[in-house]
């Protein structure tokens, strides 16, 4: 099912979605675009290239409350925080970010214990993917095509959108998307021309080039494993790294978190908060032992985790080439350049 609307009328579509549930869409902020919960349909802005922070926060918010407790009361009185979710519409997600949800699914709900928060949020959400504009060249930091992600891949989205002139085409990909799309009154049926345009663009997106050429993930994984103990190499590439957490916080596939108890007077909440493997105290044990005290050890952990350990454990690279880490790095460290250098070592 392919439908269409005009870009100017996007607020009508937003208003309709808003009436059905929670709408999370890109909003222009002082530092750039970000996914935010929309309160006013006029806020949705489609003039973005990609957002500053990744859309993972829709399923894995930076803080998630687990339990409310009172220190003066018994543990039996602790209240587990419930998630009451309305249907969520995650609007305008780029194909590489859509791919990141699949990767995170493996970790949070596909293997081992199931993370109930991720699962529940994920189930409540309809994803509106949004193709990159193939007429403008990719940002110099992006490398999603290196990881075999097309600029207009609809896989993973429930509804996939793309621009055509000043119109917006929407195609239902899953039954969930199909149901939703057919219930939206502000859309009109697309023509045969537009159906062809949609399919052509998806195909063209597959050959849309970002920097670097394709690589074999098994080769990278093996190479990084072999390089693990070559301290000299890691020291060299981490010379510039400040070991701040900017790259991990903006990353769509970074999932590390900390569980904190935050108490004010007696009342408190146990919550999870994003953490970063780049922080010194990330692996600090209560005994005082810390296996990763040096910057190179932490950067090595980050790179190897994404491009080696994750492949060994889950079979996929934990990176989608969205380029956010590179764009937000204060010292211009580029993760894939490091992998590239490693392959040449």
């Amino acid at each position: 099912m392919l439908k269409k609307t005009a870009i100017q009328k996007i607020s009508d579509l937003a208003a309709e979605l808003l009436a059905k549930g929670t709408l999370i869409a890109p909003v222009k902020e002082s530092a750039g675009f970000n996914f935010r919960e929309i309160s006013d349909s006029g806020q949705v802005d489609f003039s973005f290239y990609n957002t500053l922070m990744s859309p993972k926060s829709a399923f894995f918010p930076q803080t998630e409350d687990f339990v409310r407790y009172d220190k003066n009361k018994s543990v039996l009185d602790a209240q587990c925080v419930d998630l009451n979710l309305k249907p969520i519409f995650l609007f305008g997600v780029r194909p590489c970010d859509v791919k990141s949800f699949e990767i995170m699914d493996i970790h949070f709900s596909g293997t081992g214990a199931v993370d109930p928060y991720w699962k529940k949020r994920r189930e409540a959400t309809t994803i509106f993917g949004y193709a990159f504009d193939l007429k403008t060249p990719a940002d110099s930091a992006d490398f999603y095509s290196t990881l075999n992600i097309g600029a207009a891949d609809p896989e993973g989205s429930d509804i996939f959108m793309m621009k055509k002139g000043d119109g917006l085409l929407l195609k239902a990909i899953t039954p969930k998307g199909e149901n939703l799309l057919s219930s939206l009154g502000s859309l009109t049926e697309a023509s045969a021309d537009e159906i062809k345009y949609f399919d052509d663009t998806v195909a063209a997106g597959r050959s849309f080039k970002t920097r670097f050429t394709c690589v074999d993930d098994k080769v990278i994984a093996k190479k990084l494993e072999d390089l693990f103990h070559k301290t000299e190499f890691w020291e060299k590439i981490s010379d510039a790294c400040l070991s701040c957490g900017a790259c991990t916080f903006v990353c769509p596939t970074c999932y590390c978190f900390d569980i904190c108890d935050e108490t004010l007077f007696a009342a408190g909440v146990r919550r999870r908060v994003w953490d970063s493997c780049m922080f010194t105290d990330f692996t600090m044990e209560a005994s005082g032992h810390n296996p990763r005290t040096k910057v190179y050890q932490r950067l090595r952990q980050k790179i190897c985790h994404k491009y080696s350990f994750h492949i060994r454990k889950y079979g996929v690279i934990s990176c989608v080439g969205c380029g956010r880490c590179t764009r937000s790095c204060p010292v211009n460290i580029d993760i894939f350049s490091i992998v590239d250098q490693a392959l040449k070592e």
């Binding site: 010379d239 900017a246 903006v250 764009r327 937000s328 010292v331």
Partner: protein
């Protein structure tokens, strides 16, 4: 006269080679190629074969003084510094984090640097606005004279004019956006505490989650810790992925410190940092 970046780069290469070959230093902290011409990176030169990778262009904004404390004491280091960075070196020497005799300071007189994220020119609005390094052993290029001298505190005028509620609204809005990635403290040449107060669990000074209270505690205390020490390089604000104008607050504190204690941070090696020093004749007026 404009800055000849290519010439500085060449001189930087020549000096780095000389220093390494003569064995005067074991590392040179400079700038190197990034993934893109407009994205240079901080670069540590250890071998003469690394020298070809050195670059210096208008996007080389990083403050290399940040990396000084990373190397064991006694490591002989040559460091390329821009005007503000040289103040950081001076301040670190004052605080005895590095020894003067271990350093060879390669001063770069420069203006017209550009923020590699936004392309904006960096001037006295976001940095200290001086043109010549305050400390150097070797000068790469020529001293800059004749450029307009603008007080780095001029940018504060608008904020000082705001009433207290306006200022509170402004700072609350800005600090609420913080995602606690700590890029500011990691980019800061003066932030070298291990562990940082905010990472301590007993006493726990602030919440870890990025909400108003923890953010406020983290930033206000950090502003305080940098009082009289901030050399106004502006790296914290440039490092910030969400563009919080931290430099404004740092400038304000620096300005007050300068007025109260009569010394700016990182100008003279003989000075003591203002807050670990006192004068009996300090006036009680500063408390009013």
């Amino acid at each position: 006269m404009s800055i000849n970046f290519k010439q500085i780069e060449d001189k930087l290469k020549t000096e780095a080679r000389k220093l390494l070959e003569e064995g005067k230093v074991s590392i040179v902290l400079a700038y190197g190629k990034g993934y893109d011409e407009k994205k240079p990176m901080p670069y540590v030169v250890r071998k003469t074969s690394d020298i070809e990778n050195i670059v210096f262009n208008e996007y080389c904004t990083a403050n290399m003084a940040r990396y000084l404390v990373r190397y064991p004491r006694g490591t002989k280091i040559a460091i390329a510094v821009k005007p503000a960075d040289s103040r950081a070196v001076v301040q670190l020497i004052q605080e005895e984090k590095v020894k003067r005799e271990d350093l060879i300071v390669l001063g770069i007189p420069v203006y017209g640097m550009k923020n590699f994220k936004t392309g904006e020119t960096i001037d006295s609005k976001t940095t200290c606005g001086i043109y010549n390094p305050v400390l150097y052993d070797i000068l790469l290029g020529e001293e800059v004279h004749g450029q307009p001298v603008v007080s780095p505190y001029d940018v504060l005028v608008d904020y000082e004019k705001m009433d207290k509620d306006g200022r509170w609204t402004f700072w609350k809005k800005e600090l609420d956006r913080c995602i606690r990635c700590y890029a500011c403290r990691k980019a800061c040449p003066m932030c070298y505490c291990d562990p940082c107060f905010i990472d301590q669990n007993k006493p726990k000074w602030g919440e870890k989650s990025p909400e108003s209270q923890g953010n406020l505690m983290y930033h206000l205390t950090r502003f305080h810790h940098l009082a009289g020490r901030c050399i106004d390089c502006g790296e914290c604000s440039r490092a910030c992925p969400v563009d919080i104008p931290l430099y404004l607050f740092h400038k304000k504190v620096a300005k007050e410190c300068e007025e109260m204690f009569g010394q700016a941070a990182g100008m003279k090696i003989e000075d003591k940092p203002a807050l670990v020093n006192f004068r009996v004749e300090d006036s009680d007026k500063i408390l009013e």
